[in-house]
């Protein structure tokens, strides 16, 4: 498997060539190289996936020594096990489809080459992240994907809102990375290595105290909260929708934002040995799931609905991790990558058809006009809502089922409520966009057209995956293909946790029926609100709900809280310190000293003669004389 270095290297090469030659030489054909590179990386990932089947130990490829300082020896090494193979395949597979889609979507954009260059850089970074052999290289990929996200959110950099959103994303992630970095340092200080295998062996052997493990796990999780947009570090993700839609699909839905989930799953041995931290993970995930879903109800921008939905779905994944349901989390990660990429690309197709309109209040009745987009979007919506037998049903139900069977009834109920809200806001979006009255601006209405083939084909493939993926890799629940495949990765963690394997029985069927009923009632309510009585019910309900609605509509004031609590005090406080301490106190003393010394006038005199050459010459000659005396 020595070829695995090629998986990230291909997109890297595509990036380098495109960024250096794109502007002047490649220009409008900038998509070819990245697409080919992605296809190559996908092929290799599939090969790696097949080859890693059943392997007991991860395959490690040492490239070269990266850090070397005393005991701090960190190699630049890649590691392939089943988990990284699944991640690589998902990233390159979905990535390839999105690259192809982008050929149509970004057509004619002045930054065409730049777009494909950054997307390739992202693919490289993400693949490094999942193939890293140690925490420091993971950290490299971790920040590098953040950088690409920054570039791509701010792709339309002349838009102030886009530029601000990019910065916000990077900074929020930096806050998370602050914790992550400290966690890495703590690991090294206690264990003396950062290689996964070395760290997990040490943890398994009980070399690290329980309290230290909890500290490590929590610090790492802070990083995950930033990257995977968990409350309260979720604020950057909705704003990230300023980026082009394929970016939202690839980076801010399917892959990068799941890096936190991947990292926690990767560190399953640590988290399994740190139960209190695991509980925190579960609680934050559960809260985020319902919190973000609630905001999704009141969004009118189609992409923002999906953004909050992503935050919420990531919450489900952490909810799974919180009870040690590692595979269920990865399962949902994979199906979510399919159906959320589909929904984003579908919304991109809508936006494309609507000449850039994103506000659902100015859409409606589009199902007849852009049929393929509608049908594929509907597949994604059903999968997201958790309707049998779509992909999202299996993965979400597995998460909820494991909560119930593990005795986490409160989390199960909260998860069900969030699922109800999810179905509601998803179909609210479907109805407002594709059904009901045509509220389109007449000028826009004239130009509505179905998207080109390069966009439709990826939609079709993702729609198929959104329908069947769960059936293929997830059946039977808790024992499907994915479970059996990933078993070696999580074996150790499961032993530590003592996770029991529940068989598939009558209880599961009951739970499934309950969750489908909940989802269907969410859809029914959306139908009632937005199709049957769209003119009165939404307003009436909004008024009735009072503060609840106000909170939801204002995103629970999180941005405002950050502004008042952190950003303004920081900036204004710095201003005050600068003016009253740096300038007034320190410089005041210095100037006073200068004046007392009386040197200011005297010292300025040499400049007034204007013959500095002479001074330089004199000075220099003096030096020469000294040297001559010495050497001769």
């Amino acid at each position: 498997m020595g070829y695995i270095w090629l998986i990230p290297a291909l997109p890297l090469a595509a990036f380098l060539i495109t960024i250096l030659f794109g502007k002047w030489f490649i220009k409008d054909s900038a998509h070819w190289l990245p697409i080919l590179a992605m296809a190559g990386a996908f092929g290799l990932s599939v090969a790696a996936l097949i080859q890693s089947w059943g392997a007991e130990e991860p395959y490690v490829l040492n490239l070269w020594q990266w850090f070397t300082s005393g005991d701090f020896q960190i190699p630049l090494a890649l590691q392939l096990d089943q988990l990284s193979a699944v991640m690589c395949t998902t990233v390159t597979g979905v990535g390839l489809l999105i690259f192809i889609y982008s050929k149509g979507y970004m057509h004619g954009d002045p930054g065409y080459y730049r777009f494909f260059a950054y997307m390739s850089l992202f693919a490289f970074s993400m693949l490094m992240l999942v193939l890293a052999e140690n925490y420091l290289l993971l950290y490299f990929g971790w920040e590098a994907v953040g950088l690409c996200s920054y570039y791509l959110i701010g792709f339309y950099y002349h838009k102030p809102s886009a530029a601000a959103a990019g910065k916000k994303a990077f900074l929020t992630n930096r806050v998370g990375d602050f914790g992550f970095g400290l966690g890495v340092m703590l690991i090294w200080t206690l264990v003396g290595t950062l290689s996964y295998s070395g760290v997990f062996d040490a943890v398994g052997a009980g070399e690290v105290s329980d309290s230290a493990l909890v500290a490590i796990a929590l610090l790492l999780f802070v990083g995950a909260m930033g990257k995977s947009a968990q409350f309260p570090l979720h604020v950057w993700l909705p704003d990230a929708m300023e980026g082009p839609t394929p970016v939202s699909a690839l980076i801010h839905a399917a892959t990068m934002v799941t890096a936190g989930v991947y990292m926690v799953a990767r560190s399953s041995v640590i988290f399994a040995s740190a139960r209190p931290a695991l509980i925190v993970v579960g609680i934050i995930g559960t809260f985020t799931a319902i919190y973000a879903a609630s905001i999704g109800i009141a969004q009118n921008d189609i992409k923002r609905v999906l953004a909050y939905s992503t935050v919420s779905q990531l919450g489900y994944m952490f909810m799974a991790l919180g009870v040690g349901a590692w595979v269920a989390a990865v399962f949902h990660l994979v199906t979510h990558a399919f159906f959320k990429a589909l929904l984003f690309l579908g919304s991109g197709s809508v936006i494309h058809a609507m000449s850039g309109e994103q506000d659902m209040r100015r859409m409606g009745a589009l199902r007849g006009k852009i049929k393929t987009t509608y049908w594929t979007f509907l597949m994604g919506a059903l999968a997201l809502s958790g309707i049998f037998p779509f992909a999202g049903f299996w993965s979400k139900d597995e998460i909820l089922g494991m909560q119930f069977k593990g005795g986490g009834y409160i989390i199960w109920i909260v998860g069900l409520i969030a699922a109800f809200i999810t179905a509601f806001y998803t179909f609210r979006a479907v109805f407002m966009t594709f059904w009901g009255n045509d509220r389109t601006d007449p000028e826009v209405g004239k130009h509505i057209h179905e998207s080109p083939k390069s966009m439709i084909i990826p939609l079709g493939i993702l729609a198929v995956l959104s329908v069947i993926a769960g059936l293929v890799i997830g059946l039977p629940p808790e024992g499907g293909l994915l479970h059996r495949f990933l078993e070696p990765v999580f074996q150790h963690a499961n032993e530590i946790l003592g996770v029991e394997h529940h068989g598939f029985g009558a209880l599961d069927v009951v739970l499934m029926i309950v969750s489908v009923l909940v989802a269907l009632s969410g859809i029914a309510l959306a139908y009632l609100f937005y199709i049957r009585r769209p003119d009165e019910l939404p307003q009436k309900a909004g008024k009735k709900a009072g503060w609840l609605y106000k909170g939801i509509a204002n995103k629970w004031y999180m941005d405002e809280i950050y502004n008042v609590a952190i950003i303004t005090p920081l900036v204004e406080g710095s201003r005050v310190i600068y003016k009253w301490f740096d300038v007034a106190v320190i410089d005041g003393l210095v100037n006073l000293a200068g004046r007392i010394w009386g040197g200011f006038g005297k010292m300025a005199r040499p400049f007034q003669t204007g013959r500095v050459e002479n001074y330089a010459l004199i000075m220099f000659l003096a030096v020469v004389v000294i040297v001559a005396v010495v050497v001769l």
């Binding site: 950099y157 970095g181 600068y578 410089d587 050459e613 010495v630």
Partner: protein
């Protein structure tokens, strides 16, 4: 194994290296007074040859030993035991390479920057280079002091003559601060030499001899303060930093590049050689206080950067923050901290040098450095914006670029000393990203408000050429820092060995109290 010049390289390489720039300057002064193209070319060629020699010496340099290499030792002023003794270890070799490298960049970058008294400008740059190399190569305390003063003068002229509107004020402030430091250092030098003479009956300024002297605690304490203040001003550490923003804002681009790139490092270099080398016991005692000042500097410098309206001032305050990491890493007194600290000096030289260079390029086009006069500059200057973002990212410590390697090693080093300082220093990473990205957003991104920028051309070939080597260096160290780290390994071990005997009684009683509260080792 002998590490004299004769065995290693066959000629007096360090003397040649040190004075080559000044010889070039002399030739320019004597023969090319009225021919700008000739003297500019001579300046560049001189700097290039110096760099080539430095690179050649690097290839002959023996890693894996902390011995001083390419040594040359001549009698100078016998009656005071002063010698003309040169030599380099891994740390000074790297810093000399950085000096030679940045001198080329600075000269090429200011090709058309000054029009007034151009010859003198380039002469100053070359004399400055001699002074800087001399500081790092000197193995005699008196010689060190001479070079220390020599480099002060051309920098004083660079700021005072070719500076901006408030150049006189800035130059004098620069001079006063450093002069105050120099006086303190001089007193300390005289003090320890006097003590050594009294103690052993021999007068010497030889650095290695003095390092073996084993000064009594009282002498150590007093002399430490003298040296330390001089170097803390140079670094500059909080609260001795206010000369830096003024000096940078007024200095011409080349001055800023060399000031930030090299001159600040002389302060840390001095701490390594003298504060720690001569007074290890007091240095260990001083650790908590140095750490506190460093961490304040990290956060304070970053906070001040956040609100600056002038780009140069912003980068200047960011230097205060970055140099805080360097001093903190050094005084963590473990391999990671020390190696990270020296590496970060090189990184800071590359990245901040590049940032100042680029601000200079923008200034040449727009004649403003105020952030509010910028905005949307990525449109007329895409190449410049791309390169600028590269250096901004390096500066904020993006993994894969050089800044990360140094910073992370430093943090690992501090973490082992006391976790609470590592936590506080890490806050600087968040703030660093904040002020740099905010500046970038307001200057390069957003809509183009100032119509002046529409007429501006992107970077020309010469300007790009000055930046490409910096990009290459940043990438190389970021991806494959092992060669540099190996070079620093032996000197770092020596430093640790110097302080090791005293580390057991690490920290003052006050800090012990704090450590019991916050944990740590």
């Amino acid at each position: 194994m002998e590490y004299g010049f004769a065995e290693q390289i066959g000629f007096r390489a360090l003397t040649v290296l040190t004075f080559l720039p000044s010889v070039g300057a002399l030739i320019m002064l004597l023969f090319m007074r009225k021919r700008p193209n000739a003297y500019k070319t001579t300046a560049l060629v001189t700097a290039l040859v110096t760099l080539a020699l430095a690179v050649y010496m690097m290839t002959q340099f023996q890693t894996g030993t902390a011995e001083f290499q390419f040594q040359e030792d001549y009698r100078w002023i016998d009656s005071f035991g002063i010698t003309f003794h040169l030599g380099v270890d891994g740390i000074s070799m790297l810093l000399i390479l950085l000096t030679a490298f940045l001198s080329v960049i600075a000269i090429l970058g200011s090709w058309n920057y000054v029009t007034d008294r151009q010859l003198a400008f380039f002469v100053c740059l070359l004399v400055l280079e001699t002074g800087m190399i001399g500081v790092f190569a000197a193995m005699d305390l008196f010689l060190f002091y001479v070079f220390w003063e020599v480099q002060l003068i051309p920098m004083y002229f660079l700021i005072g003559i070719w500076g901006g509107a408030r150049r006189i004020y800035a130059a004098i402030k620069f001079f006063l601060y450093t002069f105050a430091g120099s006086v303190l250092m001089l007193v300390a030098i005289i003090g320890i030499v006097w003590w050594y003479t009294k103690d052993s009956g021999v007068t010497t300024f030889d650095i290695q001899t003095l390092q073996q002297a084993g000064f009594p605690y009282g002498v150590q304490a007093l002399a430490f303060v003298g040296f330390f203040l001089a170097f803390a001003i140079k670094v500059p550490m909080f609260p001795f930093h206010t000369w830096l923003p003024d000096a940078h804002v007024e200095a011409p681009t080349a001055g800023s590049v060399l000031l930030a790139g090299v001159l600040l490092k002389m302060g840390v270099y001095g701490m390594i050689r003298f504060c720690i080398g001569f007074f290890p016991e007091v240095s260990v005692k001083a650790v908590p206080w140095v750490m506190i000042l460093s961490v304040i500097g990290i956060i304070y410098g970053a906070a001040m950067s956040l609100i600056q309206a002038d780009m140069k001032k912003l980068v200047a305050y960011s230097s205060v923050s970055h140099m805080g990491y360097v001093t903190a890493g050094l005084f963590a007194f473990n391999l990671q901290g020390i190696q990270g600290s020296v590496l970060q000096m090189i990184n800071h030289g590359i990245l901040t040098g590049a940032l100042f260079q680029m601000v200079g390029f923008f200034y040449e086009r727009s004649h403003t450095r105020l952030i509010k006069d910028y905005g949307g500059v990525a449109q007329p200057m895409p190449v410049a914006a791309a390169l600028f973002s590269f250096f901004v990212l390096g500066s904020l410590g993006l993994p894969g670029l050089n800044g990360f390697v140094g910073e992370f090693l430093i943090l690992v080093g501090i973490f082992q000393y006391k976790i609470v300082f590592a936590v506080l220093a890490s806050v600087g990473l968040i703030l660093g990203a904040a002020y740099l990205l905010w500046m970038y957003q307001r200057t390069m991104f957003q809509e183009l408000r100032n119509k002046k920028w529409l007429k501006v051309s992107d970077l020309n070939a010469r300007e790009i050429i000055t930046l490409v080597p910096l990009v290459a260096a940043a990438l190389f160290i970021g991806i494959y820092p092992a060669p540099v780290l190996n070079l620093l390994s032996a000197p770092a071990q020596t430093i640790v060995a110097q302080v090791q005997p005293y580390l057991a009684e690490h920290g003052s009683s006050l800090l012990k109290l704090a450590s019991s509260l916050f944990g740590g080792n």
